[in-house]
């Protein structure tokens, strides 16, 4: 009985809210669904992603081509099934026109699969960076304006060799995103003659790195550490306790603010760590400086934001900006199953704070990567200095389509 009651009330409310309202195209607000992880391991990153997306909307004062932008937010906890449930709710229940999200790799693949069942809605990625999302069974209505994990590491192999690291050991988490990061690094590094004798794959959220530290060979010049925030700090602590002294090469989310704020004794040894990333705090192009000042103005540290926008803020900003720029290009016209809108998105050259982005045939971004190095400023704060900027990186990492293989535990390999 109770169930009857609850369901009837809810169902009646839904019918009343959505049943009779006809869709008018022009002048009506455009609803954009925004999905990020506000729970679970990436909660802090998800909140910053939301900030980035909000910035893109606020830049246009919440209006595009005379239509108001209405953001409907949803949260997941970085699990694919939760992300699909949240997305389904936004699309089918809240009736959003455009969907922006999700945050992490596995979620991205799952939401892409779901997007195929909703051909009249346009899905734009949040910050998920799994290669497979756009390489395996791509969906015609899923767009990704950010480069992914492997692309973020292009240029780092050469930088490592320039530093004199001829043999390295890889320590990375055991799932899709680190696979692609390691591939981005190794495909270049191996081609130029570097050697990777040992790869250690550790579980995500692992607490104990003793066995990995024991496996570090004496003759490697550096460690390639592709671990996310808390895992990286744990590893550093234990490596320090074990008396390790090898220099580090970092993945894109390894040398984040978490690590730069690291207070341990080995803090100084972080200076000189190189990493590949789609964002660099100290990049001095005026567009990027403006982005950083806008972020700091809108979200002071006292409100819980980072001192400088994180990767998630930037990437969500870029994807939300793409959604709005595309809407502007078609003058807010989403008729005919959003056909025109999608065409505009595919052909658009997106201006982002870190340079121009174009899409390839699979609707995946071709963009810029920064090679950064950790430096210490006069106040003793650590920050990332831009060593090099690599433009126009595509998803094939410069290889031919036939010879390209997706990154996995064993691909690529050069012991």
């Amino acid at each position: 009985m109770r169930r009857t009651f609850v369901k009837t009330v809810v169902a009646t409310a839904v019918v009343a809210a959505f049943g009779g309202i006809a869709y008018a195209q022009q002048g009506k607000p455009v609803k954009i669904g925004l999905l990020a992880t506000l729970e679970g391991p990436f909660a802090a990153g998800g909140a910053d992603g939301m900030r980035g997306a909000e910035m893109a909307v606020n830049e246009r004062k919440g209006m595009v081509a005379g239509r108001k932008i209405e953001i409907v937010k949803a949260s997941s906890d970085a699990k694919p099934d939760v992300a699909v449930n949240a997305t389904r709710k936004l699309v089918e229940q809240d009736k959003v026109d455009i969907m922006v999200g999700p945050l992490s790799g596995g979620e991205g693949i799952a939401v892409k699969e779901y997007s195929k069942t909703q051909p009249n809605i346009t899905f734009i990625n949040g910050s998920s960076g799994a290669q497979a999302t756009t390489l395996v069974n791509p969906s015609p209505n899923f767009f990704r304006f950010n480069t992914e994990g492997a692309q973020w590491m292009v240029g780092l192999g050469k930088a490592a060799l320039d530093k004199g690291y001829k043999r390295v050991m890889v320590i990375a988490e055991d799932y899709a995103f680190p696979y692609s990061q390691v591939q981005g690094f190794m495909s270049e590094y191996c081609r130029l003659g570097g050697k990777v004798p040992v790869k250690a794959w550790v579980p995500l959220g692992g607490k104990d790195y003793a066995s990995v530290i024991a496996r570090i060979p004496k003759d490697v010049d550096a460690l390639v550490v592709v671990l996310g925030g808390a895992d990286a700090v744990n590893f550093l602590n234990q490596y320090e306790a074990a008396g390790g002294d090898k220099p580090m090469v970092g993945g894109s989310i390894t040398v984040s603010q978490d690590i730069l704020n690291y207070k341990g004794k080995r803090r100084d040894s972080l200076v000189g760590t190189i990493a590949g990333s789609p964002i660099a705090d100290s990049y001095d192009a005026p567009e990027f400086k403006k982005f950083v000042t806008d972020y700091q103005k809108a979200y002071p540290v006292s409100s819980g934001a980072y001192p400088s926008p994180s990767l998630f803020a930037l990437v969500y900003y870029i994807n939300m900006k793409a959604a709005l720029d595309g809407l502007d290009a078609v003058k807010g016209d989403l008729s005919d199953g959003q056909k025109k809108y999608r065409e505009a998105l595919s052909k658009m050259t997106l201006k982002t704070p870190v340079g121009d982005v174009k899409l390839d045939a699979n609707r995946q971004a071709i963009g810029t990567t920064f090679i950064t190095e950790v430096v210490k400023d006069s106040q003793g704060n650590l920050s990332n200095k831009v060593l090099r900027k690599v433009d126009g990186i595509d998803q094939m990492l410069g290889m031919k389509k036939e010879e390209f293989q997706m990154g996995s535990r064993d691909v690529p390999n050069c012991p």
Partner: protein, 372 residues
Amino acid sequence: MSAANWRNAMNSGAGRAVMMNRGQAAVALPLPGVGGNRGLSLISLISGIGARHVVVLAFVLAYPWFATPFFTFQIGAQSLALGLIALSLTFLGGYGGMVSLAQITVAGIAGYGVAIFGAASAADASISLGWPWWVAVLISIVIATVGAAFIGWLSVRTEGIYTIMITLAVGVAFYYLCLQNYSVFNGFQGFQRVHAPTVLGINLRDPLPFYYLVLFWSLAGYFFVKYLLRAPFGIALQGIRDNPRRMNALGFNVTAHRIAAYAVAGVMAAVGGVLLVWYNGLIGPGSVGTSWIINILIIAVLGGMRHPIGAFLGAIVFVLLQTFAIDMFDRERFNLVIGMVFLIIVLFSPDGLLGWWAGLKSRFLTPRGGVR
């Protein structure tokens, strides 16, 4: 019915409990006294059907015709599938006195089975065997049931909090096995695109057919449990819950009976697991992790463990909250709402929603001074 009859019924019935249905029960229980009891329970089942049963049944059958596809699929089908898994816990916990936290693990074994034996896309597609869906489903349910019996065999000699601990350990161990094994479970990524099949031209992935599929199995599970509780097997199980030593003295093999109960609950959890993996279209370690272990317990406790319907009520409240809490409150703090509602329900009614309902009924519906 005399104690001797009970004992005879139980000793012949316990071993067959896994496959027990009406027909086989009749074969297994030839004693006249027991047969009479069965007829009685049938009559009392029919006479027990009241207006509310008809209304609820009509409602759940008609539901997809006035609800949106979203409500049919995400709220309706998901609630029922989760309810079926929670029902297996209600059966074990409420009637067997064994709170098993490993029910989502059993469901997960079945779900992984469907992905591994059937068709799914892993990053490394070579894992899935691609057998016909019905073979994959049957094998998965059998394996999950054997797994459930094994979990039962491990834990039945413990009581209370120790049962909880040991089943929790099994659940967490299975989670880490899925997370770290790559040759069979495909590690962190699990399996994508595990879709419901197309049968006789009906695509079971569509909201409407999928809802009815889940509804069918939920009703089957519900009535199966209702029947079983009045069958000698269930009555003896409740006896074991209340006084295992006495039941043992009466000649029941308490351990075997409990393991059989685990296996029966395992069948329900396995069917729920298959439906859930089809609902999600994917399975990974996250689907069997600690958060889901706790969620199933929350669902069962929320609804109330006194009656099989509690599992489904709990699931509906749970799914509605998970889906809509974010709209009701500050978006960064919506988990607070979920926690508060759970707390309020459990705080004011230790017996969940059913306890609330019973309290309201006795307060308003019972004539003053009268006894019903």
